[in-house]
């Protein structure tokens, strides 16, 4: 999983039936430099992921990529390749502790 900051939401109209009712978020992946600097920046290339946890704009999430991102919808097939697996409360790295509140600048 990579880390990403929720930058916004996407709504589709129309959409394939499999995606009806799914929440889509725009994520900006976070680089190690920005995570340690705690500057609220991401730095990676944006992507869209399915979110079932209710992540709010500005929150940091960890997202699964690839085939496993569709597993939560098993046994249905769904055209999903990124899925928000957890919402970050805090991250402790060797030299810094990141708190959720600090990213929401």
């Amino acid at each position: 999983m990579r880390l990403g900051i929720v930058r916004g939401h996407v709504t589709l109209s129309p959409a394939v039936p499999e995606l009806m009712g799914k929440t889509l978020v725009v994520l900006e992946p976070v680089t190690m430099t920005n995570l340690v600097a705690k500057n609220g920046l991401g730095g990676g290339k944006s992507l869209v992921a399915v979110d079932a946890l209710g992540a709010a704009k500005g929150q940091m999430v960890a997202f699964t990529e690839g085939r496993e991102a569709a597993n939560p919808f098993w046994p249905n097939s769904i055209p999903v390749d990124a899925y928000c697996t957890l919402i970050v409360d805090s991250i402790t790295t060797g030299n810094a502790k990141f708190e959720e509140a600090e990213v929401s600048k």
Binding site: M32, A52, T64, N71, P72, T85
Partner: protein
């Protein structure tokens, strides 16, 4: 599979319901030239890797699916803690 260095831990505020009680670590991918991956990775660990350890990460979700069920989005898991890595440097060992 790839090698990664454990940098810290993640405390989730919310997580997928199949992953109750999981341990989430932050790791950075290690490259053969000694550099590190730019983006931190969140990896599930049930081996017990310590901070600073070098681990082997598997990106095959099947082992996680066996453990957490068919609906788990878990993918990257710590497959083992690295004891030693031998990467011959240029000029060392037998060269072609």
């Amino acid at each position: 599979m790839f090698l990664a260095r454990i940098d810290g831990t993640v405390v989730p505020a919310a997580k997928h319901n199949t992953l109750e009680g999981c341990r989430f670590l932050v790791a950075q991918r290690l490259e053969a030239d000694g550099s590190r991956g730019a983006e931190p990775l969140v990896i599930i660990d049930w081996v017990g890797a310590a901070n600073g350890a070098t681990v082997l990460v598997s990106t095959d979700g099947d082992i996680a699916r066996e453990r957490y069920g068919n609906t788990t989005p878990a993918r990257m898991v710590v497959a083992g803690i690295v004891d030693a890595v031998q990467v011959p440097r240029a000029g060392n060992g037998r060269s072609a």
